[in-house]
Subunit: 241 residues, 2 copies
């Protein structure tokens, strides 16, 4: 498809990245979710073989990468930008979690460019960087160890953006065609008859056992073909009774 997806309007910006492997891994994470626009602000080492290696099949993203010397340049023409932080800070920005933040960004990305800004591996984003963004997104994490790998943080946000894009689509349709009421009743009758014939079920007080069976198979939401299989087994087993 050559139509523009809202994900084409989403820019990932990595600020002052130390390890080039993380740049490659971020590119791969982006591509798996359908993102393609990557900006770097003053990377320590790039281009670099480690970046290429970790990108695997996402080297096309590395080839189109934009390298900037300042955040303003990377944010140019965006209509909404989010600073991604491990811990929400006591700043005046609106704070979203990853899911809410992705939804909010995508609302805007349907029309215009938006950006997600990720800080350096160890030091994170500076206050000055955060203050250039309109919102803060915080990825919920273990309070005792909230240090996501940079590419993992990109992966989670890219995943949430994709989920925000597809979440109103139809659920995956069920496989096979469901058995109808009549087919199920014939199955239960068949099962009951075989159970009585084999002395497993006492016809004087059958109710509770058959209820359990109905509940069990009711939960499974049997398909037509499955009912045929089960009845085939019962026929084979019942032959000698």
């Amino acid at each position: 498809m050559n139509t523009v997806s809202p994900l084409d309007h989403v820019r990932i910006i990595l600020s002052h990245t130390s390890h080039p492997g993380n740049i490659g891994a971020a590119a791969r994470a982006m591509k798996t979710m359908g993102l393609s626009s990557l900006y770097l602000i003053n990377p320590r080492l790039f281009p670099n073989k480690a970046a290429d290696d970790r990108a695997v099949s996402a080297r096309d993203i590395l080839e189109k990468i934009k390298i900037c010397s300042e955040l303003d340049e990377a944010l140019e023409s965006t209509v909404l930008s989010a600073a991604i932080t491990a811990r929400p800070r006591g700043l005046s920005h609106e704070i979203f979690n990853a899911r809410q933040g992705a939804r909010e960004l995508l609302r805007y990305a349907r029309q215009q460019p938006v950006a997600l800004l990720f800080g350096a591996e160890t030091s994170g984003l500076t206050t000055a960087e955060v203050s250039k963004c309109q919102m803060i997104i915080h990825i919920p994490a273990n309070p005792e160890f909230s240090s996501l790998n940079l590419a993992s943080a990109v992966q989670v946000m890219a995943y949430e953006l994709r989920m925000a894009l597809i979440e109103h689509e139809e659920p995956i349709p069920p496989i096979g065609s469901p058995a109808n009421f009549n087919e199920l009743e014939l199955l239960y009758a068949h099962l009951e008859q075989v159970m009585i014939a084999s002395d497993f079920l006492n016809p004087q007080k059958p109710r509770l056992l058959m209820q359990r069976i109905r509940r069990l198979f009711g939960r499974a939401r049997l398909e037509k073909e499955e009912v045929q299989i089960l009845r085939g087994i019962l026929t084979a087993l019942g032959k000698r009774w």
Copy 2:
């Protein structure tokens, strides 16, 4: 806090991992989301320095790691297990996306162990491995490049499990006492034996039929008592063969 979290009941199983760095990165991804139980099935290289390096502060997870030679060992005593795949396959189990799957797993993890099974980096999971699980989870991805890095896939699932934990504090529908892996395997073995004895199943080509059966009962999430009932029926029916 020393109380048991449902996340303590979530087991991550990595099958036949090639790159030890991915094991370390998976451990870090788990720890950032509060998971701690990691199992390996026949890793190519472990323990290994690359694993330690990528784990950063999650080496405690590597130290407690369980190494198994077979999937059955890793799945022991779990009540629900999910195969994580990039693409949903044709004849398989109930399919969930990452979000729905995490919610379903967490419902069970409040009481008992559950597992997420990840395949080898290049080849993924085998059909035999998938068929031992009760559900399939597929991480929505770019159809043109769906190859998430192994640790990134672990990160997304761990993140969704954490989100499932924190987002809904609503009442959870009661679950009976779920059958565990071992009880289910005994049921399948019993059923297979009776089907062969009654000539319903040709042991020369048993695979497809047993897969259908596993899929059907996998969807039903059998309870202990239900397994007893089904095996009771099989015993009664099998008496004269």
